[in-house]
């Protein structure tokens, strides 16, 4: 038998027993980013497809959530910073090698865009709405005219934002649980699915909900496939990654991961959505809520568990 014992003589109460520098703020940031990306993507998509009339919640109403989500997300990122007075330093340079940097810049571009999109529909949402200045009226006409190019830009930026929420973690070679390129697509798909869940929750049109539910069920299938892939990839990799996978396969995160993320966050809502499609009466806010909670739990668990995994030496 070979025993290996690490006795750390560090005696650093603020660093040992293991590093834990990111708490709830980063998962909230990742969750809201993914949610916003999901809503924007489908708003852009269905506008480009010319479905503005049939899918009003997707194109017009749900995007009002996006600026709120993005601002709250940025605020969560701000809360995570330990040297907050220097926040502006993020925006005095662009560093392509740093996901944190280009993510912050993506948000800088996408947030105003989401405000413009919402502004272009505000008169339809609140008919009595009046802009305080006439120049704003002119601007509104202009952005309404350019909705199509905006929709394309939103789709592209939404994919970048969605993938970024995964790459922010996967770029860290030092944390074996994060260091897999599947995390980008996985977080994107999960973000799209949470976005859809929010839209379905808000939508009152049966036609719209049916289309969105079908897309959502497909996305959940893809997500499950990617998660299985993730775990299989770990189990076939190096010792540190096998240990990372074992956190979910018998280790300390097993119950939370399988119960909240896989079963309650993916499988149960998918079954409920399918049942609804074949005609059972199921209030769709239930699967939507489950998906949203599952999406948040997934990010929380990934961030927490990732910080435990490390190189052994």
């Amino acid at each position: 038998m070979k025993e290996e014992l690490f006795v750390s003589g560090r005696n650093i109460p603020n660093i040992d027993p293991y590093l834990n520098i990111w708490h709830w703020e980063i998962p909230v940031y990742l969750f809201l980013g993914g949610l916003a990306a999901g809503i924007m993507f489908f708003a852009g998509l269905f506008l480009v497809l010319g479905k503005e009339k049939e899918m009003p919640t997707t194109v017009k109403w749900a995007p009002f959530l996006v600026p709120v989500a993005l601002v709250l997300g940025l605020f969560a990122l701000f809360l995570d910073l330990k040297h907050q007075l220097y926040f502006w330093r993020l925006y005095t340079t662009i560093r392509m090698e740093s996901p944190m940097s280009w993510g912050a810049w993506t948000l800088m571009i996408i947030t105003p865009l989401s405000f413009l999109w919402a502004a272009s529909y505000i008169k339809e949402a609140i008919p009595s709405w009046k802009w305080p200045m006439s120049i704003l009226d002119k601007m509104e006409k202009l952005i309404i005219q350019y909705r199509k190019p905006m929709a394309w830009a939103m789709m592209v930026l939404a994919v970048i934002l969605g993938v970024y929420t995964g790459i922010l973690l996967s770029a860290f070679n030092a944390r074996p649980l994060w260091n897999t390129s599947i995390l980008g697509p996985l977080f994107l798909v999960s973000g799209l699915s949470t976005g859809l869940a929010a839209i379905i929750w808000m939508s009152k049109s049966h036609y719209e909900r049916t289309i969105l539910s079908k897309i959502d069920i497909t996305l959940i299938g893809v997500e499950l496939f990617l998660i299985i892939h993730l775990l299989m990839g770990f189990l076939a990799a190096t010792e540190v990654q096998i240990e990372a996978a074992n956190l979910f396969l018998g280790g300390s995160f097993t119950v939370t991961f399988w119960v909240f993320v896989i079963i309650l966050g993916l499988i149960v809502p998918a079954i409920l959505e399918i049942l609804e499609l074949v005609g059972y009466k199921i209030p769709l806010w239930i699967p939507s809520l489950l998906i949203l909670i599952g999406g948040f739990m997934f990010r929380l668990i990934m961030v927490e568990a990732g910080q435990i995994t490390r190189y052994l030496y």
Partner: protein, 177 residues
């Protein structure tokens, strides 16, 4: 110039003087440290081996902490020393996550702090505080490109290893075995 350090794991007794010297020299707040001792016991009784290592930032040649920093606060100076400019650091923690050696910590004032290879002492022609104080002289510091430096000489006649080379960071602490 390429600064590096060699640590003789056979000579180190784990007294922790290097840790205290660093804390004093660099005003490290209580509860934190820039270098530390790892006591690694491997094997099963009665064939047990103990390895004592004085660890700190590896001043990696391929440093992920510098690459992932969104503001450029983490940067490399002359001799390959990896440093953090305090008033450029936003405390996002990315560099802490990126380091396979957990060599960085979040200073109570908000910025991230770590070993500097005592570059303020090097500028005065002195060696680092930990090397200066080590009672068994098991730490060797110097320029790898200079064959007459302490570190080059220490590495010439001994076998050595680096920690977690598979992380790909090209660490510059050499542990003599």
């Amino acid at each position: 110039m390429r600064y590096a350090m060699a640590i003789d794991t056979k000579k180190c007794v784990g007294c922790g003087d290097c840790v205290v010297a660093c804390q004093t020299e660099n005003n490290v707040p209580i509860g934190y440290c820039r270098d530390w001792i790892v006591e690694n016991v491997a094997g099963s009784y009665p064939n047990v081996e103990v390895e004592l290592r004085s660890e700190r930032c590896n001043h990696c040649d391929n440093s992920p902490c510098v690459r992932c920093c969104p503001t450029g606060a983490s940067h490399i100076v002359e001799g390959g020393i990896v440093k953090v400019t305090h008033d450029e650091c936003i405390g996002c923690g990315a560099c802490i996550q990126s380091c396979p050696y957990d060599a960085r910590y979040s200073h109570p004032e908000g910025y991230v702090d770590k070993c500097t290879f005592c570059d303020h002492r090097l500028a005065k022609g002195q060696t680092t505080a930990c090397v200066a104080v080590c009672p068994t002289s098991c730490l060797y510091f110097g320029d790898l490109e200079d064959p007459n430096s302490d570190v080059s000489k220490a590495l010439k006649n001994r076998s050595w290893k680096v920690l977690a080379p598979e992380a790909g960071t090209k660490p510059q602490l050499y542990f003599l075995t």
